[in-house]
Amino acid sequence: MRQLLHEVQEIDQYLLRKMPAGDKLVFEARILTDPQLEENANCQQQAHQLIRWLGRAKQRVTLHNIHHQLWQEDAAFKAEITAIFK
């Protein structure tokens, strides 16, 4: 892997708490002295968060579709739910 991807991998190990304790201390010290590394780590953390947001948005669409499908095709389901909220 080229140098840049090594750095991505290293930051990932740190963010996902998969870095051995000794390496973690060294890495944290490097972040303090290397603004470029600090910025990359921050942006990578934001990337993880965006991936989670998108994952959840996608799940919501899936669940909405399941609800819609059951509502359309399963008369007993629709009747049961309608009775609860009548």
Binding site: M1, L4, L5, V8, Q9, D12, E39, N40, C43, Q44, Q46, A47, H48, Q49, L50, I51, R52, W53, L54, G55, R56, K58, Q59, R60, T62, L63, H64, I66, H67, Q69, L70, D74, F77, E80, I81, I84, F85
Partner: protein, 172 residues
Amino acid sequence: MQEKEAQGLTALYRDTFPQVARVVQQLGGDLETAKDLFHDALIIYLEKQQQLNVRTSVPAYLIGITKILWFRKFRNDSRQRPLDDVADDISIPEDFYTPPPEKNRTLLQHLQVAGKKCMQLLQAFYYRQLSMQEVAETFGYKSTHSATVQKYKCLEKVREQIKQANYEAATT
């Protein structure tokens, strides 16, 4: 999502939603609220499924989360939380209710459309928590090594776009 997984989810939905709806109705909620809370509860359950050691049944767990979400949404008072035994197993992911910052909304839309395959791969690993072996098989890579290289390339691409969005937000 694999077909078997999708069928399992539909069956879980079919079995559990009426029970959750009844609870929400008793608390004073309408159908839309029941749906929204149940979807959030299911999302939290699916995210934590692998790490969970659920002592009660899945429906009881989902009802428990829904109640907690209800109290959080409408009472905003932790003392009002239901003291079921499931409550111990439940924690809401810390960023669950934090909306993406404004500057990232455009980026989110952009990422959803562009780089679709990259996002699917990243979600498989970082969101659905598949192993790299499973990721490699799902996306047709010859080895976990090449899937791993691709994963970091994609992550780096997203990271660069975030960096760009941060610069733009800082200069406007």
